[in-house]
Symmetry: D2
Subunit: 391 residues, 4 copies
């Protein structure tokens, strides 16, 4: 695996720069939807024929669903190797589906701090997590793949000459560069680090989505972690600690701790504010609190927050969910969900770790801030949608 | 059974007037809490010794738990006879517990339009549904029992003389009348009529709480009926019809239809307004809607509302709950929950039907409106609780 | 003046029935907008030529603006006679403008309990108060005017024969009846009765909009009455009494008491619920309360509510507004705004008083409930507007 | 003037360290309240007698009110010199009053990026801005004054010896050190930079509170800047631009741009989330928006935000307010309020500029995070105040 390299642009977005051509691409798709599957096959074929040096990796389920569809070898994340090894193989990830597919792709890297950059496509309707339209997949993938290739390399490429990396390099891609020479822009969406502990303080099953084994370390969530009464018809009672201090006892359907990215997901439905993904913060938002005075809170990203099931929930089991997936086991009185914001770090070589690096769309240069957030608010979420008849 | 008679007082509250002394009292209690059980026994003993002509009825579960505790015979709602017969036996009901116990007592009459008057006691903390402190049980029950007894009867009673009804009458109660001569004041809390229908329009299992049999008619809820995603981690999609017209498609955790009584329960947690129980209305309140523009609605009480599980919820089963109890079966795509407000009617003899007649507290005559609602808002719900240090 | 007669239809809407042909129509318009003025002239000319027996009344301001535009005599509400006499002359009112114009028309009758029926037209965009499109003015006015004319009268009319009422009767209207024979449907929007009292309990200037004289009785509001800090940069402190009982002390920008009609106006902006106009209720909604626990309340329509400026607002004057118009004088510490819901009454002859009778649109008979409310929620207010890209 | 020096503590709070003893203290007080004035005199006398080398500076209004109360000379911020010079004289500031007094003290430095550290006392009730109780003024001021004095200096001081700075140094303070040797902890509350521009883009009157002169540069707000319809009874229409991009057109009572510090002030009343003061962000919160879908937004602190009065507000003037004070002139159509978050910077000598450095209370060492925020939420704001009877 090769860690991608970033440079800061205007203090907000990063510019992707591959030190050498990426080699392994993980293709993720939304399951069960025929039209998605078709497009997925088209996309994979395009990758294979245009970028012959790239190896294609599929999830086992997808591989077995589609093994007859491809005339070329694909790799799978072998079921033996845990997801924890995936991040060492994958250089870049693409998703085809909606926000849920991006969340799922991110969950494949939920146990590691390094997540390869993600380029996400949607069919039809756009989601909110900054997706690209499938129709533009050729240009988008090319810019992603070529991002940060030096001028010389590009020239070679444009001239059709071979570079010294040989066939596996950028020069193997024929044709004109379709994008500009600047690198693809990256929004690092920071995640939550989540650990679950039993009443004696022992770490228990973390993220059943990714593995059967109880992880011995934190798992990461991109949107939120939630404790919810779920099928129990009664309120659940949760003690909330902030930075080790008792904050409050919540009687509610549940408690959400969300990232800014997740602020437009469940948090929004629960009445929380909408937070720009670059505000380093954690959101603490109750779901249907039995209180007139529980206002959502926004805390510094590095604040440790603990949700403890109160002993008043005798015998009852409530659920823990991350990014829309339930953990296999619920939690009972005394158990704790411990959360803090993942730190985004840059090592001395300039490489970043932490967060999910998402390739955002460039709409032709309205400044560093045009990350589609304002467009998403207005276009998708109908933010402050004006009253009056349809125009 | 004898239907109690009411008179209107100031157009808001009714005054309870027994045509002849009540004979059967149903005693309901919160389960599993030792201190409640103890008080319950004390209370039952008091009823038996002070009102010897009153028969005591218990729920089977309570009867078997306590059958050794009483030296006198008690009756149970025999398991054979459905709850539908209970309302023909019971003249008055008392509850010992919290709001949940009142809801449970009301659920015993959920299939009939007649509900006997309820006097509710709580241990320790008061709930919001207008309860009385257990400490005042002697006076409270006496006023309830004596309510509307004519002056003659009262005099006889106060003199210790026998009335013509004999031992079974009011005069059997020794001692001074502790209350005033006016009748106990009654707040009729109107309920929802709820029916559940499959995709072909056939009525299906209504209220599994009360009976195993599928009811062939509506059941009633005192707080609310709710459709909720429950253990399904995804949003559920509900089509809402008002008076037969399509209103909206809700994507949410759930949808609540609440009575004004229920406005301070789940509706409150979901962001709904607080509605005085005498405003004839239905509340339509979403739970965590995936929308920025779903404001709670309040509709006239007689508006038929239908919640239909959208066909977009393919394969998924969501739950239906009434007053905090889950129905045994969930609903799937195409099924409908049909709701409207119960009408409160008065027959030519002046007897009322409809709603749950709750005995409210009199605090010494501040006018007809003192129903404890304002006190409940301030004292219990901490409505508009002032900022600043504890005094 | 002749009071219009109504019959109940399905318990919700009334059907307008003129005992004899109406004679005086008040035409109200939005000021200052040229396109409105043009349409207004077209409309007045149509009324004059098609309904020659109808006298046209204008507000003085409008009359002087347009006195050259008409070749026929118009009447004005003479400045000497107060608005209190207007209701004795006017049989029906039409408005041309937006919601604000309807509110203004209603304010002309704010001191009387009888308000003639209102037919409201809007140019371009519809408002929320059930307006008609100006394009349909001919049919709409005809149905309004003819509403409830008996079959005989209609026949005569259709045959072009003279009826015995002579030229001033319905038969003077030439041409085919464009509408059905059922009466125009009426939604009576109930109002607030508002009185303002100084610290000694004396009634002070009520509604400066309508008259210079201090009214000696209540004035009425259709949307809401509001106390607001206005240009004072500090919070105002208001004591709220419900039915004579102290409810709470609000520290806020202001306090709104709203009708259900007004629930979609300022109340909506302040976070209140949306209430159907037929729910007999009053809404108590704070504007920017300095509290985490001030939830909007809905009270029975006949509850007296008092807002008293707390003595803590020493020296400061805050404003009182009704339906978007400020009262000329503000209120200071100790003063009270006393409000209750107007009662809607029917006398023995079947005539109604109370509320503003608004002619609602019939969209072809989807049942009594189709009052445009659901359509207004969806079409105008974008209630629960779905997420996703524009279709 | 000497800029105080800070060190970082745990990445959150700073530790105050005077390079040499501070010389000039500005004493600010709440006006008009006799009990505050009395305590103020006591406090000033204490400062004078205990810290003889400290010069006391008063605002002109306070100086003239109290000039007879002091037997020693005090200095005033001469009316000639603008507030812009004050920051060069004042080493430290104390306030006596409430949150409003702190806001006022901060406003004296609203035109400069350097604000001297503030120690705030309140009488009676605490406010939310981290105040100290007046009762503890001796210890609090001493710790503030001594903060970061080296061990040697402290010893000298404790021994009563003279240091080389002579009488003007720390050693002049008699008695035992009451506090620990660690420095006073500082929370830098970041401010907004605000500029107001006319329709042609010329800067106009900035902050009328501080000076009559039109400032030629931005002014700073600690809580918020607000555009508000004020005494105009109609909605105002504001175009909002984020980072140069059109975000939305708000029809509302007003628009607030708030700091995290201000999140518990007007923003809270308007329904915004509560943001910890250390989350680098700006809050965009509408006041009573005429929309169902205007959710408060939280943006990165360095986002430029522009509020422009829409040309649809023809002729109308709306108000601009900062921290509870109205600007002398309102704004009309086309004018813009331009805001961004102030940057907090540290120079090479380790000195900070930007923000209002507030001395926070130490409650005995529960870690770096105990800044009173959690206590303020619970104790003052009654955050998630539990239902149930008073205990
Ligand atoms: N009542 C609610 O609002 C609920 C929301 N969710 C959210 O759904 C997420 C999982 O997504 P799916 O698997 O697709 O579940 P899903 O099929 O229940 O759909 C959730 C919806 O949220 C959208 N979404 C997801 N993440 C988003 C984000 N960061 N910003 C804006 N929109 C976003 C999706 O596009 C989809 O429309 C969870 O992380 C949770 O945030 C889950 C359950 C209930
Ligand atoms: N997130 C929430 O707020 C939830 C609320 N509920 C409510 O709980 C009710 C059932 O009550 P329990 O069996 O005691 O369940 P529970 O043990 O979950 O307690 C619900 C709480 O609501 C109170 N409550 C019930 N009815 C009320 C009313 N009409 N007004 C004010 N407070 C009321 C109870 O005193 C109790 O504190 C349901 O009808 C539903 O309204 C149920 C689940 C979740
Ligand atoms: N922040 C806010 O939401 C404010 C609202 N208002 C409302 O404006 C009303 C006066 O209207 P205008 O003179 O036109 O003032 P305006 O020119 O300020 O417009 C108020 C808006 O509210 C609409 N509106 C009025 N009554 C309505 C109703 N019952 N339901 C739905 N929408 C309604 C109007 O069509 C207009 O769009 C007042 O009664 C008050 O309710 C007034 C000031 C501020
Ligand atoms: N409806 C509302 O909530 C209004 C709020 N205000 C706020 O008042 C502030 C000015 O304060 P005063 O001159 O004392 O005006 P004021 O006398 O109107 O009182 C405002 C209240 O807000 C409190 N407050 C001020 N700043 C705060 C903060 N950062 N966090 C928590 N509470 C805070 C004060 O202690 C006081 O209780 C403005 O900056 C504005 O935020 C001003 C007008 C209306």
């Amino acid at each position: 695996m090769m860690e991608s390299k970033y440079q800061e642009v205007s203090g907000l977005y990063l510019s992707l720069q591959w030190p050498s051509p990426p080699r392994n691409v993980l293709l993720v798709k939304k399951p069960y939807v025929p039209v998605v599957t078709e497009s997925f096959i088209e996309f994979a074929n395009h990758i294979h024929s245009t970028y012959p040096s790239l190896s294609i990796i599929l999830e086992p389920k997808v591989a077995s669903e589609l093994h007859e569809a491809f005339s070329f070898p694909v790799y799978t994340t072998s079921s033996g190797s845990g997801p924890s090894e995936l991040h060492q193989k994958v250089d870049l990830t693409t998703t085809l589906g909606g926000d849920g597919t991006i969340l799922h792709a991110a969950s494949l890297f939920s146990t590691t701090s390094y997540v390869p950059p993600v380029l996400s496509f949607s069919m039809g309707t756009l989601g909110f997590l900054g997706e690209w339209k499938f129709a533009e997949y050729k240009r988008a993938f090319r810019e992603f793949y070529m991002s940060g290739a030096g001028v010389g390399e590009r020239n070679a490429l444009l001239e059709g000459q071979r570079d010294d990396i040989g066939n596996s390099g950028w020069s193997s891609i024929r044709g004109k560069s379709m994008g500009s020479t600047r690198g693809a822009r990256v929004l690092r969406r920071s995640r939550l680090k989540v650990g679950i502990f039993d009443a004696s303080g022992n770490r228990i099953l973390g993220d059943s989505r990714a593995s059967d084994a109880a992880p011995d370390h934190d798992v990461h969530a991109m949107n939120e972690v939630i404790i919810h009464r779920s099928k129990d018809p009664h309120l659940c009672i949760v003690e909330v600690f902030v930075d080790g201090r008792f904050l409050t006892e919540a009687m509610a359907d549940g408690m959400i701790i969300s990232t800014p990215t997740g602020s437009t997901a469940y948090n929004l439905s629960s009445g929380g504010s909408i937070i720009h993904p670059l505000v380093p913060s954690l959101l603490l938002t109750p779901v249907c609190p039995r209180s007139l005075s529980f206002r959502p809170l926004v805390l510094p990203a590095n604040t440790p927050i603990t949700l403890r099931l109160s002993s008043k929930n005798r015998g009852r089991e409530v659920e823990v969910g991350m990014d829309g997936a339930r953990l296999r086991r619920g939690v009972v009185a005394g158990m704790e969900v411990r959360v803090s914001g993942e730190e985004i770090e840059q090592d001395e070589k300039g490489c970043f770790a932490g967060g999910v690096p998402c390739i955002i769309r460039s709409d032709g240069g309205n400044g560093a801030s045009d990350d589609g957030w304002v467009e998403g608010l207005n276009g998708l979420l109908k933010f402050n949608y004006p009253f009056g008849e349809e125009h």
